[in-house]
């Protein structure tokens, strides 16, 4: 069966529909992350948001990034966050207050930021998309990565950074050593 080129009745492109769906899911999940009372549920909503974002990446033609998104964000970072949530749970259950007093100010700031960004975007001339689906070639990414003069230094630095982060994380989260009581007086 052949997909109809556009959605029947509405004359939208399929891409557009997909985009709107994925965008909607992502925004709703992100919103829930931010306002959810139970933090575990927030974490799970975050996973959903990441997943939807991966879908949008595919729509934009960056399949490697989409794969990396799923692997890294959902597979590693979200798990890490869930572990941390479990480790820092208080006995009293979810906190009574989700937001603190400056939330109103924060909301205003965020709102202002939104307005600002949207205004900036609308008022700028952007280049139009080329009318072909373009997929990012993995070979090209690999070449760019290791080519001299471009991203190879960044690559090395990131490697060091991750090492440092791992070591630092282990060190910071290590429990304090209980000093050895030592031998008593003989």
């Amino acid at each position: 069966m052949q997909f109809p080129p556009t959605i029947p009745f509405l004359e939208w492109a399929w891409d557009d529909l997909l985009f709107i769906m994925l965008a909607g899911i992502m925004l709703a999940a992100a919103f829930f992350v931010v306002v959810g009372r139970d933090i575990v549920r927030s974490g799970l909503a975050m996973i959903l948001a990441f997943g939807a974002l991966a879908g949008i990446y595919v729509l934009a033609g960056a399949i490697i990034v989409a794969a990396a998104q799923v692997l890294i964000y959902i597979g590693a970072i979200s798990v890490l966050i869930l572990f941390a949530i479990m480790l820092t749970q208080t006995k009293a259950g979810p906190a009574t207050l989700v937001f603190h007093r400056q939330a109103w100010a924060g909301g205003l700031a965020a709102l202002g930021l939104t307005v600002l960004i949207i205004t900036a975007i609308i008022n700028t001339d952007w280049p139009q998309r080329v009318h072909e689906r373009l997929w990012t070639a993995t070979a090209e990414i690999g070449l760019l990565l290791f080519q001299d003069g471009l991203y190879v230094v960044a690559l090395q630095v990131i490697a060091v950074l991750i090492t440092a982060a791992v070591v630092g994380g282990v060190f910071l989260a290590k429990p304090e050593d209980v000093p050895d009581p030592g031998e008593g007086p003989r």
């Binding site: 965008a23 992100a30 975050m46 207050l97 909301g107 965020a110 373009l134 990012t136």
Partner: protein
């Protein structure tokens, strides 16, 4: 809509704002970190969107996004380690009870 850069950018901006709001408003430290992850993702989306609409930059954009992801991972690691360390000391993950730097 999938064909307009503006849609992607607006989406990215909205996601970034949501992340900002969460960062400024939530009490739980881990929720703040989650909001930071959202913000980083919004940035990634913007980069990818630019890449998608500029053929010669497409591979670069993907690469930048990958780097951002790596950095985000590192940052999440260290941040969570800190939260756990503080939690061990204060027994609470709520940031407005970390007030010892106060005047």
């Amino acid at each position: 809509m999938a064909q307009s850069l503006e849609a992607y950018l607006i989406l990215s901006g909205l996601l970034f704002s949501i992340g900002t709001f969460g960062f400024l408003a939530r009490r739980n430290a881990i929720a703040m970190l989650m909001s930071i992850e959202l913000m980083l993702n919004a940035v990634n989306l913007a980069v990818i969107a630019f890449g998608a609409f500029t053929p010669q930059l497409q591979a670069h954009a993907a690469l930048i996004a990958l780097f951002v992801m790596a950095v985000a991972a590192a940052e999440a690691t260290v941040g969570l380690a800190i939260v756990i360390a503080i939690y061990r000391n204060r027994r609470t993950p709520l940031v407005d009870e970390y007030a010892s730097m106060r005047e």
